[in-house]
Structure formats: structure tokens, C-alpha cells
Symmetry: C2
């Protein structure tokens, strides 16, 4: 029996590896979650680890691993955890890369955690007032300002009308002691009786075309207290931005209706997170909102009509600050809404939040950010400046307009692998429940797996001649059965249809074309991009390898790609907890070059070529082609 010691980076305890167990088993024992959809059979290729030391104590690299890992990755020390039994004694050091860590994946879905110092706009100050005597009748406001100036060094604060209405009773109920909520140290937005040490709460909201996400934050700690998400109910007025702009433009009432719909949905999310946290919505003192420019305009009641007309100008680019009561949000009566600034008509505050969260604006070498949604924003840094553009990629990558598409809720198939031997699938679902549909990351995984196994070809066509019950015709169209009806909760076969594959092709082609235009615009080489941030409010982890396999972005080593989840939400949370981040956001919005794709011939040329899987020009994807070649020849 061989016994090697295994140490995982960042974990204090060590474990023992034998020739009976592999690193995946050891990790499971130690409760270090490593992704493995196929259950350790070497099929799914998800349990990637990096062996930093002692690799010679392990089994040699297997053929299974050669199919899933690139040459470069193999050289770098990448292995599949399920193929790593000990063959001799020794000491092994292992790193679990983010893409394989279940914990990391879970965190990344919500987006990057804010790590910066916390300096929120909203503060609370408890003070005891010296009330006026008959000879010196100060007003309540004067007594309050005097106390605040003495005890908190707060200068001449203005006082909001709602706080003014609260003041006289609060002073008397609190027996001259009150807690004041200030905004930006220049305005009193709320007054409560007595001394309060409750957390100061804020809400960060990401308004996507298809999805809404809300994060209740403790502003003093800069920590998430509760999260909630929902579909954007404006969907009933149109799936995409252009349809909604067109609806809103027809009539002032339509605009009000769209606005009212999203405001009601945000109120619902606000209610949900507050209920989860056991607090009142009126305790929420600031709401930071990010969204693409059309969502932003509609949310604020600004007619988005001209966003759809050349030269597509937004009405306002800088941050907008207004009382939440102005648009009917049920937060604290004195609460403010802050919307992140906008880059252009089709690159909104969500992209600014992405940049803020990934710190792309501080990157000193070329780096790429892709925020996938119904509209996908792409931002490229050449190490000095930023260029951004936006493309319509449709809702497929969010599980929308897919035959069995659904949001990433319990029962959504989120991970797919297909055994190349018999094209039988394996899958994982959100919450581990029986499947009832496929979410965005699942459909992308499925497309990549189907390509790997030759179920679909270079043009995306499903091979109807394959000898498997999984591939069949329905109403004349080919489809691949991912789960039989006896597995599913809704009693129907869950399939990936030819149309679903086409939707993925259209989406990834638009994204790849957008990236190509920016790369040309800034004159950099794809292989010089040292970091790719893959973002999106999917609700689940998108596998960077699957995205690469279908050709969503240039053929860049996988270890340079980071899935960062809902980084727009992360950026919104950062802005919510930090005034400094807001200053940075304003700077980002001002200095990022916008590239308008509608007027760009290059985009359309690139788009046509990128419809192929992975691309019409296969020489652009050597790693992918090599992997496909190896798989198919196997």
C-alpha cells in the first residue's frame, strides 16, 4: 500500500492518499468540494486540480486526462482529481482552481465579495440633545444640529422633509435622545427616538433585461445579509430591449406601466430580502441600482425612445441620485436611490459595475470582461485604457427562449457531460433535485458536450444518423434527450433541440464578434490577454471550458479565465458600501471608449464567421480543435 501525504493550498489539515483512493476521494472526505458531475468516472472533466508539488507520487497522466486538458495545462500541472491515485510514498501539494471548487462556484454565482475598505454614504449617529429653555427657545432642528456638531463633528446638515416630520415626536419619545441617519454627511434623512445600534441597511439591485437580483447589505460591515432574485416581469412587454423601448415610446402611459412593473418587482425583492433578514423595508436607507441603459431609463421613468435611434444617446450618463419615494420604492421614507453612471446608450451602469468589481480599470496588462445577458456587454483593457461595446445575444444563455429553458431554480439542469462512447448524458441540477428544465449554464454545457461527442457538427446541426435513442426527430426537427420523462418532475422528456443549439450559436457568435471588434480597435493580440472575466447573473456557475469549446471567446488558456458570476451585482454592492468606489465609477464612465457596433461593418463580418462551432476559421481555436480531434479520434 502506497501512502502519500496530501496538502490542499489554504487548508490546514493534511490527508493521506493511497493507491486505493484518488485526490477526489480525499477531498470529499475532507469536505473540500471539488466539482465532479460524472461521479469520478473521468468523463465530465470538471474535477480539475493543479498539482504544485509531488506530482511524481501520482499515477501518470491518463488518456482520459489528455482528452480534457490542453497541452499547456498539462505542463502547468493540471490533472483531473479522479485520475490521481498514489503510486509511491511522498508529499503532494494541490491547488483547487476556482473553476473546480464547489464553494468558489457558489460564491462566484453571487459575484465577487467586496473586500475594499467600507465607507458608506449612509451613517447613523446617536445624540442626546440639550433642549431649549424658555429664555433661549431653540427650534428642535437647532438643538439637533448643535448636538451633532458637538458630538459628531457634523457641520451644516440639511434635513429632509420626512426627517423633519419625524423630529419633534422622536425627540420627546426618546427623552431627548435620538438616532440620526445621515446621507453623505450633508443631509439628515431619518430621525428615530432613542439610541439605535441596529445595522445600517442598504439594497443593491441589478436590473437585467431578463433577471432581477437584489442584495440586502449591512453597510457598516460591507456584508450581504440576504439575497433574492426574480424574473424581470417587463418580459411580458417584450423579451428584448428593443421591443420594450418600442413599447415605452408609443405612449407616456406605456412607459409608466413598464416603470411601475419593474418598481413593483423591486419592491417585492426588497420585501423578500427584508423578510429573510427579519427586518423592515423602512430600515433600508439607500438603494443602489445598476442596469443597462434602457433598463436604467425605464426604471427612472425616462423615455428610452432615443436610445434606439442613431446616434443612440442616453438622456443622462452621470450618476442619478433621487429619493426612493419619488418612484415609489417602499424603503425608508428618506432613502435615496443612487444609479451607477452609464458609458453609452447600450453600455450602462451594469458594465461600470462589472469593471468596478473586476478592477478591470486598474489592470496593467490586456484583460477582457464579458457580461453575458440578453444584452451582453464586452469591455477590453489594453492595460492603459478601456473600450466597451454591447451586443444583443438573446436570453438563451439565461435559460430563456429555450425549449426546456428555465431560471436557475431547484431542478434546473446546470451541469451536463456526455459520455463520448455511448453519448449517454450525466447531469447535475440546482439543489440536487429531479430535473424539470435546463438553465443557461446547463444549455451551454450541453452544447459544448454535444460538440465534443459529435452529436452536433461544426455548423451546429444535430447528427440524425447517430445510433442512439437519445437522438430523435420530433415534428421533423432533431433533438437530443437529456433526461427521460421518468427522471423529470414534470413527466416530460427534457431535450436540447436544434433550435436551442441555434440560439446558443447566435448568442456566442454575437459575443465573439463583439470581442473581435474591440481587439481590433485596441490593436492587441488575443494571446496577450492575461485575464478574461466571465460574468452574468445566471444564478449558476458557467463553465469557462464549455464557453471556450463553443467559441464564445478567443482561444485563451483556461487558467486565465475567471467566472465571476453576477459582477454587476458585486459592483452595485461595492458602490453601495463605498463612496470611493462611486468616485471610481464616475471616472470609469467618463473615460471608457464606447464602440458602436451597429455602425461597424467588422461586427457583421465577424458575426457570420463566428456562427460556426467553434468558428469558421478553425485555426483561431487550436486548443479546441486539438481537444475535439483527440476526443473524436479516441
Amino acid at each position: 500500500m502506497k501512502r502519500a501525504t496530501v496538502v490542499f493550498d489554504g487548508v490546514i489539515k493534511s490527508a493521506v492518499l493511497s493507491n486505493d483512493s484518488d485526490i477526489l476521494d480525499v477531498a470529499n472526505q475532507m469536505e473540500i468540494g471539488i466539482s465532479a458531475v460524472c461521479g469520478g468516472r473521468g468523463l465530465c472533466g470538471k474535477c480539475r486540480i493543479v498539482v504544485k508539488d509531488g506530482g511524481d507520487s501520482l499515477e501518470p497522466i491518463s488518456n482520459v486526462e489528455r482528452l480534457s486538458l490542453s497541452e499547456e495545462e498539462l505542463i502547468y500541472g493540471y490533472r483531473l482529481a479522479c485520475c490521481t491515485k498514489a503510486i509511491r510514498d511522498g508529499a503532494i501539494r494541490v491547488e483547487v482552481p476556482p473553476e473546480s471548487s464547489v464553494e468558489q462556484q457558489r460564491l462566484q454565482v453571487a459575484g465577487i465579495e467586496t473586500t475594499a475598505s467600507v465607507d458608506p454614504m449612509v451613517e447613523k449617529h446617536a445624540v442626546t440633545l440639550t433642549l431649549s429653555q424658555l429664555e433661549n427657545t431653540n427650534s428642535d432642528v437647532e438643538s439637533l444640529l448643535e448636538a451633532l456638531s458637538k458630538h459628531h463633528d457634523l457641520g451644516s446638515l440639511r434635513i429632509d422633509h420626512t426627517a423633519l416630520m419625524q423630529l419633534p415626536s422622536a425627540i420627546r419619545r426618546g427623552k431627548n435622545s435620538v438616532t440620526v441617519t445621515s446621507y453623505g454627511r450633508h443631509e439628515i434623512i431619518s430621525v428615530e427616538a432613542g439610541e439605535h445600534t441596529d445595522p445600517i441597511l442598504g439594497l443593491a439591485v441589478d436590473i437585467g433585461t431578463t433577471k432581477l437580483a437584489a442584495y440586502l447589505m449591512d453597510l457598516k460591515k460591507g456584508k450581504i445579509v440576504a439575497t433574492a432574485s426574480s424574473a424581470n416581469p417587463q418580459i411580458r412587454f417584450g423579451d428584448d430591449i428593443i421591443t420594450r423601448i418600442s413599447y415605452a415610446s408609443k405612449d407616456e402611459r406605456n412607459l409608466k406601466q413598464l416603470q411601475g412593473t419593474v418598481v413593483a418587482a423591486v419592491n417585492k425583492l426588497l420585501h423578500d430580502v427584508c423578510q429573510e433578514a427579519g427586518v423592515e423595508a423602512t430600515q433600508v436607507c439607500e438603494i443602489v441600482v445598476v442596469g443597462n441603459t434602457a433598463m436604467h431609463h425605464i426604471f427612472l421613468g425616462i423615455n428610452p425612445r432615443f436610445l434606439a435611434l442613431s446616434p443612440y444617446p442616453p438622456t443622462v450618463r452621470s450618476e442619478v441620485v433621487l429619493h426612493s419615494r419619488e418612484i415609489g420604492l417602499n424603503a425608508n421614507p428618506g432613502a435615496y436611490i443612487y444609479t451607477l453612471p452609464i458609458i453609452a446608450g447600450f453600455v450602462g451602469g451594469d458594465a461600470v459595475a462589472d469593471i468596478l468589481a473586476t478592477e478591470l480599470h486598474k489592470s496593467e496588462s490586456p484583460a477582457l470582461l464579458i457580461d453575458i445577458g440578453t444584452n451582453t456587454e464586452v469591455v477590453l483593457s489594453d492595460g492603459r485604457k478601456l473600450a466597451a461595446c454591447s451586443c444583443a445575444s438573446g436570453p438563451a444563455l439565461e435559460g430563456g427562449c429555450i425549449e426546456h429553458g428555465m431560471r436557475a431554480e431547484t431542478g434546473a439542469i446546470e451541469r451536463v457531460y456526455i459520455d463520448p462512447e455511448n453519448i449517454e448524458p450525466g447531469y447535475a441540477t440546482v439543489g440536487g433535485a429531479s430535473p424539470r428544465g435546463i438553465c443557461g449554464s446547463g444549455i451551454l454545457d450541453a452544447a459544448a458536450s454535444m460538440l465534443k461527442c459529435g452529436i452536433i457538427d461544426y455548423g451546429g446541426r444535430i447528427d440524425k444518423k447517430l445510433n442512439s435513442p437519445r437522438v430523435r426527430l420530433r415534428n421533423g426537427f432533431a433533438e437530443y434527450v437529456l433526461a427521460w420523462k421518468d427522471e423529470s418532475t414534470n413527466g416530460i422528456d427534457i431535450t436540447v433541440t436544434q433550435k436551442d443549439i441555434q440560439a446558443i450559436q447566435l448568442a456566442k457568435a454575437a459575443i465573439f464578434a463583439a470581442i473581435s471588434v474591440l481587439i481590433r480597435q485596441l490593436g492587441i493580440k488575443p494571446h496577450n490577454i492575461h485575464r478574461v472575466f466571465l460574468a452574468g447573473a445566471f444564478g449558476t456557475y458557467v463553465d469557462p471550458q464549455s464557453a471556450l469549446m463553443v467559441g464564445m471567446y478567443p482561444d485563451i488558456p483556461l487558467n486565465r479565465i475567471r467566472f465571476v458570476g453576477n459582477s454587476a451585482g458585486s459592483g452595485a454592492r461595492m458602490a453601495l458600501s463605498s463612496k470611493l468606489r462611486r468616485t471610481e465609477a464616475q471616472q470609469i464612465a467618463k473615460t471608457t471608449d464606447y464602440v458602436e457596433l451597429a455602425a461597424d461593418r467588422r461586427f457583421h463580418e465577424e458575426f457570420m464567421k463566428a456562427l460556426y462551432l467553434p468558428h469558421k476559421d478553425t485555426t483561431l481555436f487550436p486548443t479546441v480543435m486539438q481537444m475535439l480531434g483527440r476526443l473524436r479520434n479516441n
Copy 2:
């Protein structure tokens, strides 16, 4: 035939006076309105003029004049215009003092006209924008701010949410030309398509306990465009401040109800003045509000409860600025409300407006201001500093709680004289119509005349033994019939009752006592007061002589007394048209000493003595006593 030339000060044309005509006749021919209720019979004493030159060409001073004018006035050149025929040739120069000028009286009812230079908070700026091209996609806001900065030297303006919503459509409808309304040169509150040269409109509102007055102003010209007034409908929740405070304090809903009631009434006045001027309420871009502290607090939705509890602190003393939409006024969506600052719990923005309008704060010698209302504010200047107090004087002087009392509307008896020979009355009504009631100035005139003629005595008791059908008992109470039912429009006798006289006594005693306390406080002598401003939103002209006769203020020569009408409204209009006046108002509110009468024994002592007519200590009123003596002995 004697023929003297008469010149009136301020009138270019001259006229000829003979021994057949008096100066009242000449003035009537020249359409110089001189007040004369008795039609020139020497009875009413209202047609007072000052003969500046050539007095020796006139009849000598008659007994009739000696009854109406004081020794001092006679020395100063006062005459009654109806007693001044020419007795020799000559050239006569005449001044018509404000109290006798019908035109002046009419103007003074509305209050002093603003004469200062006009520098309103609200401005309009027409600009043409250079819209963005594809290469340089400015937002609409950026294009607008660029144009404003270039053409109007307007720096970094913030833009209100409602203006933001108007902006994109306005730019396109105006073919890149828009008119921007700015507030204080720091915020854009409205954007209209195209170039507009419409006047900029504002509304000044005086919220009295009993009456509301509203003035639509052209802010560029500083001129009144239309006026309207109404009862304060909060009256149904209580006649006086204390009752309303008590109602509002009971329940948050009661406060909302009181606030909603007055807001609805102001909206009605806004609608009325706009209809009269042929404009839309949404053209009104700022609303300046004055009122006593309780009215101010309730209007803003601030619980007034603590105003009624020692030490009676207001919630806020400084100016309050908020969007009119916050409390539901139907002005321009971006319009602001500005409330004048407050001196104390019972001396509000109305008193500050009074001071502003009368320039009491600039007086270099002792001067007194009395703003009569349900609550009467008294302000005294010793030539250096100001002291103010307030007393509850009841609604009698506004025609409230009087048997036949009414507001100063058509048919209200506003002027009364009584012939001492036969105690038969004469009267004038608002609009010259048949009488239907008595307004505040009428009841004061009636009380003074009844005192002069001995119908009431020193204690205010009606002499039931008088041999006249005018004096009678009804339900055991004495009353004086001012108009028989066949004269009145409502078919009933219009009388002045014993209770009405009592109400006047209570009112004037409170006012006199308040003045006495301030005089003692500042240590000045009544005869050193060089100017008394008599103010109040009565709707008609209050005769300073009648007020003196009943002992409302110290026995000061009549020519030092100026009726200034609704000077709170005047001050509100001044603040509306001028930023400079707002700075002054803030200074006034800060530096005026407040004297709390509730805690002042002197007030109660003075009040008891002042219940008599004119006063318990008749030596304080030598002029009045001399006049009463002369009349009664006549």
C-alpha cells in the same frame, strides 16, 4: 367769487377751488379718490387731508374738524376735505395722506407693493443644443449643460428628476432648442421644447388661521398678476390655533387631514389665480408660503403638538425648501416651496414677512408693527434691535365670531360712521352693494363710532336707555341696528350686538397688552414711536383712527400710523421675487428677540386694564379722551 388754485402732491394737473366748492368736490372732479363715507357732511371724519401751503385761503378750522382731528394734527395742517371752501384767492398745495386715499386704501389692502430690485430664485434660459454625433456620444444632459455653460455662464447644475424625464422629448420636439427653468442657478427644475418667452410665474401664499390669500406673480417684473383669497377651511377643526394643535396632536391621521385640507384650499386658490390670469397651474415654478408657526407646521405635515407645550419650541426655525410635489401642490412638477423662516413657536414666517415688507428691521428709530389676525403678532423696534411677541386676539377683527360677521366680500359693511346728533348710522360696503353683513374693519369702525356717540360706555356696555329705535333688546341682550332689513340683501336687520363689542374689547385688550409688554421690555416711551404699521389680511382698509379710538395701541399721533394691509402677503411676494430679501428674512428670524407672553405676568395685568375703552387708565389716551370729551360735550 373767490378762486384759489389747488395742487395735489403727485398730480400734475391743477384745479380751481371756489367759495362754492370744497377740496373734496375738487378731488372728486379730478378723480382723486378721497375717502368720505358720509358724503361730505363732516360726519365721518374720513376725508382727512394735509394742507401743505396756502391754508390761509381756506375757511377757518370748523368745530366739526375739531371733533375729528387732534390738536397735533391740526397744527400739522390736517383738515377734513369737506370743510375747505376757498375764502380768498391763492395757491393751495394739498397732500392726500394714505389713510384718506381710496386708491392707497385699495392698494394697501393687498399690502405694500414690492419696489426693490427683482432677483428671483427661478430663471428661464433658452438654449440651442449641439447634439452628439456617433463618434462623440454625449448624453442629453451633457449636451444641455454644455450649451448652458457656453451661453448662460451656468456652471454645474444638478437636474431634478422630473426635468430629467422631460428632457429627451423636449430636445427632439424643440428641434434641439429648449427652455430650461433653473432654481437658484444650481438646479434645473423644468425643461420645455423650443424657446419660450412666457413670464416666469410664482405664487405667494399667506396662510392665516382664518383666511388664506394667494398672489400670482410675474417674477421677472416683480408684479402681481392675479390674487385670490378664501377662508381657511381648517376652521371646521377649530377656530383658533390651540384647538387645531390639539386636534392634530391626537392622531397622525388628524394631522394628515388638517394638512390635506389646507393643501386642497391652496390648490383651489392656485387654480383660481391661474384661471384669472389665463395660465396653467403647471407654469407656476415656485411657491413662497408664510403663516404663523402652527399653520406652517401643519402645512408641512409637522406635528404642531409641542408648540402648545412649554417652552413652545418650533420644530424648525430656518427656511424650509422642498418640492411642491412632496405635499401635493399642483404647480410645476419641479416647483419648489419656500417657507419663510420663523422667529418662535408663536411668531412665525408671517411676522418675518411683515418686518420684511415694512422694513422694520432697517428702522433707525422706535417703530411698531401690529399684524392683526386671529393671532396677532406684535413687533417693536427700538431703532437697533427687534422684539416680537404674539397674542390670541380671536377672529372678530376678521369678521369671525361676530353675529353678522362676514369676510370682506361684496355687500360687507366695511366703513361705519354714526351721527352723534341722532345716532343714525351711515356705512359703505365692499363693492357698493346692499349690505349683507359686517367685515372686520366695519365692526371696528362701528365700535369706535358707538363709543364716540356714547352708544357704548367706557366698559363697552350698550346704553339701553338711549331714545332711538336703533338701540334695542333681543333675547334680553342689547344691540345696535346698523342696517334695517329692508336695506339688506338677506332681509334681516344687521346689528352690532353686546357680544360683538365684547369680542372687540377682548381682541384690542390682548393687542394693547402685548404692545405694552414689548414697550417695557425695550424700555422705550410710547410717544417716541415714530411709526406704527397696522397690518392684517382683512380684505379691506382698517381705519387707524377707529383702532386708536378703542385703544388698540398707545395714543400716538394718527399721522405716524400707516395701514399696510396684508404685509405678510407683501413680504411673501418680496421673498418670492428676490433672493436678497430671503437673506434678510433669515437674518430677521435669527436676530429678533422673542418674548413669551404666556409666562409674563405683565401681560395679564395689562390685559385686564386694556379691556376698557380706550383703557382703564384714561390718562394714557389724552387725544382719545379729548376727542370723546369734545364729541360728547358738543
